[in-house]
Amino acid sequence: MKNKGSRRSPFAAVLVMAAGLALTGGGYAAATAAVEQVKPASAVASAAQVEEGRKLFLANCASCHGKAAEGSAAGPSLIGVGAASVDFQVGTGRMPGQASGPQLQAKKVQFTQEQIDSLAAYVASLAPGPAVPTEEMLAADGDATRGGELFRINCAMCHNAVGAGGALTEGKFAPSLTGVESKHIYEAMVTGPQNMPVFNDANLTPEDKKDIITYLKYVEENPSAGGYELANLGPVVEGLFAWVFVLGLIIAITIWLGAKSN
């Protein structure tokens, strides 16, 4: 009792550490959960839609991609990239790009799905390219086991075994796939945005892609059998957790053992 005023309780440090970890963990979970919902695109492109898209393009995209989407020093040519590419880039908010950096990141979507469809129709009218996938190609009713195997061989090295994302070189990273719409996952596979390679239909057939999406949705919806996942980031996070908590606990117990009882 005597020294109560002169010294903090030995548990204070442990408490502060626990609170800090809980806060950052909660913040991370909240951030990954915030993903926009967008309605699926319709496949039919009318001349009016293409014209509408052209206008939108001239107003919003042409400064980098050129008046006829032929590309410039500031942005690549969009001839032949297909509707899927536009739907992915604009539909996830990556385009129009705003800040320069190692890579363009998903942000708030700036157009309505209708406008995105028009833009996509315009770009698709320039030259043939991958189309926006249909609902049926996206239904998560494939084979999750097979999808898991394909995912581990083709995708997991960058996106992590359960799609939690991971680091690449020089500040680039493979984003987390949790909460990403099936449509955008599919489009990313066929178009290979930024540094992601392309997985064309000869490499991963539409059925393979469907299985991969099924697997990702399965992982998202089912709890991990191994207890709390720690964001699924693997041994570094798990090791840190063990060191901080177990070591903290051991220190706390040691202090308690040596302390005089009051």
Binding site: G166, L168, P197, V198, F199, A202, N203, A225, G226
Partner: protein, 305 residues
Amino acid sequence: MTDKSVKHEKAAARQVAALFFTSIVGSAFAVYAYFAFPITEELGTVRLNTLLLGLGITLGLLGIGIGAVHWAKTLMPDAEVSEERHIARGSEEVRARAVEIIKLADSESGFSRRKLIRRSLYGALALFPLPAIMIFGDLGPNPGDTLRHTMWKKGTRLAKDPSGLPIKASDVTIGSVFHVIPEGLSELEHHKLEEKAKAAVLLVRLDPADIKESEERKSWSYDGIVAYSKICTHVGCPVALYEQHTHHLLCPCHQSTFDVTDACKVVFGPASRPLPQLPITVDAEGYLIAQSDFTEPVGPSFWER
């Protein structure tokens, strides 16, 4: 405090007993949980079962431990006591006697006198570890030249992992990456994983204008399609993080980075050798085939390399 007030002493005794009782409850709960929450086909039950069982056992052990410490700290006297250490050296008498015994043993056994016995004993002692060394030798067999060869042979088709379907050159569009195994790997009866671990290949198509090729390797690629071993030359992780724009291949283990446009030379990280290239071409039907095995051992460095 507890030695000064009866009230405090009673309270402390109750606390210790309560801790021991917690332990009893925990252990009983663990037994109960084992039966009440069995593991079934459903994955979630494994989690529940281990969680509750673990909590019960934790309480059971912690209750005893914390109770015992609390008991010692509150109810046992805390006066400080010092214990003298006794001297480790034996008394003169004991020491003299020990020397006497050794001398007696020597004279009675004749260890110093009987040369033949002594030397043969030395011989026996020197030889007895030999069988152990021989048995260690049996840990082999030596890998022989298996580290220098893979399943790839002249004419082996490049196939998709895991389906084993052969790949046409026209399937490989610019910017795409294929994870490749030798055709026939899936049909192997033995050592399938060992073979896969050596033969795995990454296939990429580049713009031919982007590739820097040495004279001798000009014929190893096909129309911009190049194939490199996927096994890191550092310590053997699968190198498969391909960045389409920078053409860098990154190893996830220790961040070695290889430049696909420049013979997969190391541009960063601890690996010391480029990834071995698989010479490829196409057959009459347009399928990609190997021209030969790798021309150097794949994977990490080893002795004699």
